[in-house]
């Protein structure tokens, strides 16, 4: 590992537990590089996760790290940010962690526009429990609990976040890493709730069940299916089917939650 990145890792905990070719390591690397580019104060950064393979990431990262319960990272993170708005908060979460069991916390954190950067390690599957379908598993894909093909429709996390009130929304992939780092930097600089949906690969469970036996095949799929927001805007719904639209979807300035609460304190204390 690059010397200047070493201080961001708990090097004695590496190598990480992730399978060969698992995209979680790529996203974690991108997060750390974005933090390094922004020169954030390490002791004022707090990284919170839920449960899942992806949620193990904070354990390898040398910051204030909190590995909570399945789906609840945003709830814990909300308490931290409310109590100490000076801390920079990242939530690292899996697609199941974020959008299934944690779906309620997700939409409400977005609605409040609390200053938390949420990065979803979206591998379209429950990795840690061995490959069951998640709310992000595409229709007709196979999973251990969808042996005949998935009949559930999947979320579009970016649309979900935006309509819930997130004020920065973007999608990146583990193939387009330089762009991913830029997006993470923007999300971190954004004041308010930012969501980054990162299209990720789980070769072990999603790949094997869906005729992509190697991480390379899975990466190729991302490469083939990705289109930028700009080109997507010129494509028909039919042309867009199955495509991964990447880039920034939404950015707006809206009062941030803890700043609003600071005003509540002022009011309560008799200011105006």
């Amino acid at each position: 590992m690059r010397k200047e990145l070493q201080k961001y890792f708990r090097n004695d905990k590496l190598p990480h537990i992730w399978c060969p070719g698992c995209g979680h390591g790529i996203i974690t690397g991108a997060v750390v590089r974005a933090i390094d580019n922004l020169k954030l104060n390490q002791s004022k950064v707090c990284i919170v996760s839920g449960i899942g393979c992806s949620s193990r990431a904070p354990g390898y990262m040398n910051f204030n790290t909190l590995h909570t319960t399945h789906g609840r990272a945003l709830a814990f993170a909300t308490g931290i940010k409310m109590a100490n708005p000076d801390l920079k908060i990242l939530v690292l979460t899996g697609d199941g962690d974020c959008s299934a069991i944690g779906g309620n916390h997700f939409i409400h954190a977005a609605r409040r526009n609390i200053d938390i950067t949420t990065i979803v390690f979206n591998n379209s599957i429950y990795g840690m429990t061995g490959g069951q379908y998640s709310p992000m598993t595409p229709k007709a894909a196979f999973a251990t609990t969808a042996p005949y093909g998935n009949i559930d429709r999947n979320f579009d996390l970016c649309k979900l976040a935006q309509s819930a009130g997130a004020t920065y929304v973007a999608r990146g992939t583990v193939f387009h890493v330089p762009q991913l780092i830029k997006l993470i930097e923007k999300a971190l600089k954004h004041k308010g709730f930012s969501l980054l949906d990162v299209v990720d690969i789980c070769p072990t469970y999603f790949g094997r069940r869906n005729k992509m036996s190697s991480p390379i095949a899975m990466m190729n799929k991302i490469r083939e299916m990705s289109v930028t927001v700009r080109s997507a805007s010129k494509m028909s719904e039919e042309e867009l089917s199955g495509k991964i639209v990447i880039g920034e979807f939404h950015e707006e300035r809206v009062p941030e939650y803890t700043e609003e609460y600071a005003k509540v304190i002022e009011k309560a204390q008799g200011g105006n």
């Binding site: 909300t78 100490n84 801390l87």
Partner: protein, 382 residues
């Protein structure tokens, strides 16, 4: 100095006590009969520079107070049956990760939505074993408005001192009744804060028993060295481990930090137990009826006394043991449930007493008359 005497509701006294104890963060979700605690907190906390947030549910509220506590804020949430059920997983997290926090459970009739506006004491076992796995927990239960105030302070003190969630177990009657109370001067209140570690140290092992008392000192997120907190079994450095000795040592320490300090944690009240033949064991609002019944029975010459448990968990076995050195022959456990505490009392009695239950679970209080009738019936058996 003139002391103020005010008419106050139990839930209000809870918030006043919490603020006096240093609560500066509250996260909650409305539910009868606890809602006033959230409402009053929403009004009072920002006046003191504290923070209130209404979360999307009780799971989130529990998560949020753990998060806030990690930054050094004394934190509380309040709920009732259905919400208390939802909090359980994260209560377990706080037990294992040793995050101080106070959880108020104002009991109402259950199970399920049950009897939202009526009192019950059906959560006795849930407060002890509601979350999965062996874990330490402290549960205390007030019987009057003034005691709600004092015990809320005590809940914070115990939670901070032992780094364990403390549950304030109330019931609808104690929460909603209004009594005249005289609150103590702030300066006369004993406040215990968690042990802090000097943030300038060069290596910090967040679960190291630096002082040998089983309670590792804490450091706030953001104050010094970054560290890791997890709900997985962890070693003294805070990182996950599946090593058998690490698991055993951690669980042993979690239990012993509570069970080695029972003299400090257990509180109970004996009334007329020295010469009693029958002792009525009770807690919460039921103890009020029992107290009245004992007074009336004594006037009739009945040798009856009462044991009021203020600490519910850990169970005060020593209080039962002490009764073994008195003439007591009968123990009558009065509670608004099917006999949850009775089972523990029986085990504790080890056959030294005849044990009886006085149980009511229809949303009505146990009345003094019902206690009197039951004592007479017990006396006949004897």
């Amino acid at each position: 100095m003139s002391k103020k005497i005010i008419l106050m509701q139990g839930n209000e006294a809870c918030v006043e006590g919490a603020l006096a104890a240093g609560m500066r963060f509250f996260a909650g979700y409305p539910i009868t009969p606890s809602t006033e605690i959230a409402e009053i907190s929403a009004e009072k906390l920002p006046k003191l520079g504290g923070k209130f947030i209404q979360m999307e549910d009780e799971i989130a509220s529990m998560g949020a107070i753990i998060g806030a506590s990690l930054t050094g804020f004394k934190s509380m949430t309040a709920t009732s049956g259905p919400g208390f059920s939802l909090k359980q997983e994260n209560i377990g997290f706080a037990c294992l990760a040793e995050i101080p926090c106070v959880v108020v459970n104002v009991q109402r009739g259950g199970p399920s939505t049950g009897l939202p506006t009526l009192p019950a004491q059906g959560d006795v076992m849930q407060t002890r074993w509601g979350t999965h796995g062996d874990h330490p927990i402290i549960v205390i239960s007030p019987s009057s408005v003034r005691e709600v105030y004092d015990m809320t302070i005590r809940a914070f003190n115990l939670s901070e001192k032992y780094r364990v969630p403390c549950i304030l177990l109330m019931d609808e009657v104690v929460a909603h009744m209004r009594e005249k109370v005289e609150l103590p001067e702030q300066s006369s209140i004993d406040i215990i804060n968690r042990k802090y570690l000097n943030p300038s140290m060069s290596v910090y092992k967040p679960y190291m028993d630096y002082d040998g008392d089983g309670i590792p000192p804490m450091m706030n997120f953001g104050d010094g060295l970054p560290y890791h907190v997890t709900g997985l079994i962890h070693d003294i450095s805070g990182f996950p481990s599946t090593n058998a000795d690490v698991s055993k040592d951690l669980l042993n320490r979690l239990m012993s930090k509570i069970y080695n300090n029972l003299d400090d944690i257990l509180e109970y009240e004996n009334i007329y137990t020295e010469d009693a033949e029958t002792v009525i064991v009770s807690f919460g609002s039921t103890a009020r009826s029992v107290h009245r019944a004992v007074y009336l029975l004594r006037q009739e010459g009945f040798k009856v006394g009462m044991l009021r448990l203020k600490t519910i968990w850990p169970f005060a076995h020593k209080a039962i043991k002490k009764l073994k050195q008195t003439p007591v022959r009968n123990l009558l456990v009065a509670e608004m449930n099917f006999g949850q505490l009775l089972e523990t009392v029986k085990a504790s009695a080890e056959g030294a007493f005849r044990t009886y239950g006085l149980n009511k679970y229809n949303g009505e209080l146990i009345t003094p008359q019902e206690v009197i009738n039951k004592v007479r019936e017990v006396a006949k058996h004897a």
